[in-house]
């Protein structure tokens, strides 16, 4: 298990270095950072001095090393637009996006997995067919449409839930959470639902497909032959064998959710990183964009690594050490 962990972490570190190279290239070579930072009256000497101070005259490798060293310490420089530390800006916005994505992910699993099992087990029933049809609609609707429809139904017509913003938040250290206030929770419902609609149907369809496959296997039949009750066969023996792809999908999709959150955050004016990024793009705020790129990549890589480690935990066959011990006798 240890060798496996080290291998996975080395892979992750290598990928991050490559991403850092990309982010650094954007930062350094897409437009001149000096031009963006000084005002129009600055003299040639001012510019040269700033260039020297920023270390832009150093060699490529030195600059890249410095960029990585700073990035590891969470230093991505100063935002061109609001002259604030980029990490502080992102730090302010990150909790909002994280809570949104977290709740959307939990929703997609808690709703998607049971629906998938039910539609697979009762595949001939009318309800299963209806769910299956509904899932096609869910997959095909773009999330901004879902968002707007939700706003129309629950905010405008019924007036039950707020249509925008995060409600009241509570600060726990640097983390501002909306989960502890009722207005914060109410504000979270619609964006999370809108973000997770696609996920729910994706998880449901995946679980259904995997379950149909698993229900045909010998060990499911053998479990029934041992007298294991149908419910236990479906929800314990079969479902556990379906979770592998669900874990992968969920892990990969959290990355996608953060990306999709961009749209949802725009629709619901949710003060998260997505909204920050959209604003950064509008003002060509390159440090913010570079930091966002690094952060999202980091989340992707971290998730992939966690997914692989979880694999080894769920499926004993993937653990390096047991595979070696598996030179069975007999």
């Amino acid at each position: 298990m240890l060798a496996f962990l080290i291998k996975r972490f080395a892979n992750a570190a290598f990928v991050m270095l490559a991403v850092a190279l990309l982010a650094f290239t954007i930062f350094r070579f897409f437009g001149d950072p000096v031009e963006m930072m000084v005002n129009e009256q600055a003299t040639q000497e001012d510019r040269a001095e700033l260039r020297e101070r920023l270390g832009l005259n150093d060699g490529f490798v030195t600059q890249y090393t410095r960029f990585v060293t700073n990035a590891v310490q969470g230093d991505f420089g100063i935002s061109y637009r609001n002259q604030q530390d980029v990490m502080v800006l992102i730090g302010e916005r990150f909790p909002a996006t994280f809570e949104l994505v977290l709740v959307a992910t939990i929703l997609s699993l808690v709703i998607g997995i049971p629906l998938g099992v039910i539609t697979a087990v009762h595949r001939e029933s009318r309800m299963a067919n209806a769910l299956q049809l509904g899932s096609i609609v869910g997959v095909s609707l773009p999330s901004f449409v879902v968002g707007i429809m939700l706003i129309l139904a629950f905010s405008v017509s019924l007036g039950w839930l707020p249509a925008f913003g995060r409600g009241e938040t509570v600060d726990i250290g640097w983390w501002s959470t909306g989960l502890l206030t009722s207005s914060g929770r109410a504000a979270l419902v619609l964006p999370a639902l809108s973000l997770s609609t696609f996920q729910i149907t994706l998880v449901m369809r995946l679980v259904r497909a995997e379950m149909l496959e698993t229900l045909r296997t010998d060990y499911v039949k053998f479990a029934r032959a041992r007298g294991v009750p149908a419910g236990r066969v479906h929800w314990v023996h079969a479902l556990r064998n379906c979770l592998m792809p669900v874990i992968t999908l969920t892990g990969m999709q959290i990355g996608n959710l953060i990306a999709f959150a961009l749209v949802t955050e725009t629709v619901f004016q949710w003060p998260g990183m997505g909204l920050l990024f959209i604003q950064a793009v509008t003002f060509v705020d390159i440090p913010v964009m570079a930091a966002y790129l690094m952060l999202v990549s980091f989340i992707f890589v971290a998730l992939n690594t966690i997914v692989d480690v979880t694999y080894a935990w769920v499926d004993p066959r993937l653990r390096d050490d047991t595979a070696k011990a598996g030179g069975a006798n007999g």
Partner: protein, 322 residues
Amino acid sequence: MTDTVLDVRNLRVEFPTRRGVLTAVDDISLTIGKGEILGVVGESGAGKSMTGMAILGLLEPPGRIASGEIRLSGDRIDTLTEHQMQSVRGRRIGAIFQDPLTSLNPLFKVGDQLVETIRLHSTLTRTQARTRALDLMREVGIPAVEERIDNYPHQFSGGMRQRIVIALALCAEPELIIADEPTTALDVSIQAQITALLKRLCRDRGTAVMLVTHDMGVIAETADRVAVMYAGRLAELGNVEDVVRRPQHPYTAGLMGSIPSLRKDMHELQMIPGSMPRLGAIPSGCAFNPRCPQAGPKCRRDIPRSDGPGAACWLALTGETA
């Protein structure tokens, strides 16, 4: 054999399909007594596994029992609900499947699968069930059980896994074990060990066994009586000695002739020309008539049926095929 454990009467299994109803098992009657091993042989698709699955109540839909009766120690089990069947499977009928590599759930330790099965069919606590699981594993010949009980199926070899499967089938001391090709997926050297183990365990316990296989050698070594199936029908039923030495049905004779032997000096193996008909295209009369060297007009007209031991063949029944 006075105590009849399994009594199957006129069992008929059908599969309704778009192109009509297929009859996978056609009017099969057989009995197995306490401690008796009945071998069921036939080619792939002869309906032997289907018969086993029907008894277990595990026919895949749309397959269903169309008619007939199945009795287990006198209790009718083919009419039970799925829920009632759950307490028959595993408890009163144990099952062993063909492929030990796929019979065990790969994500659960073998000990957990044993404990689960034991606790389903008894009131033992987790600790007691674990002790019983260890005993069972020892009994089926697994070394270092204390250590092995917490291993996953992939850490066992094929033969060891089949031993675990046998232990699982024996968990609740069932009256009947249905062993569906228990040795087919194993190495030849392991096959004999597993067959001997199965035979010994069932003799000791007086468990009735239905041993489904296409391997006549396994039957000859293990079984007391044998049922030969062809195209869903019973071709011949009788004591192993009689059937092997003096086959009455031309199909059985053909099967015997196609077994290689080291003892007899044979230049060439005999074979039965042609192949078994598909379920949708069973010829009228005796299903074997197109391949039978002795077939007459009667064989193409009427289906021969045999009640009890003997061959379902007009030649054996009436001595003529005209």
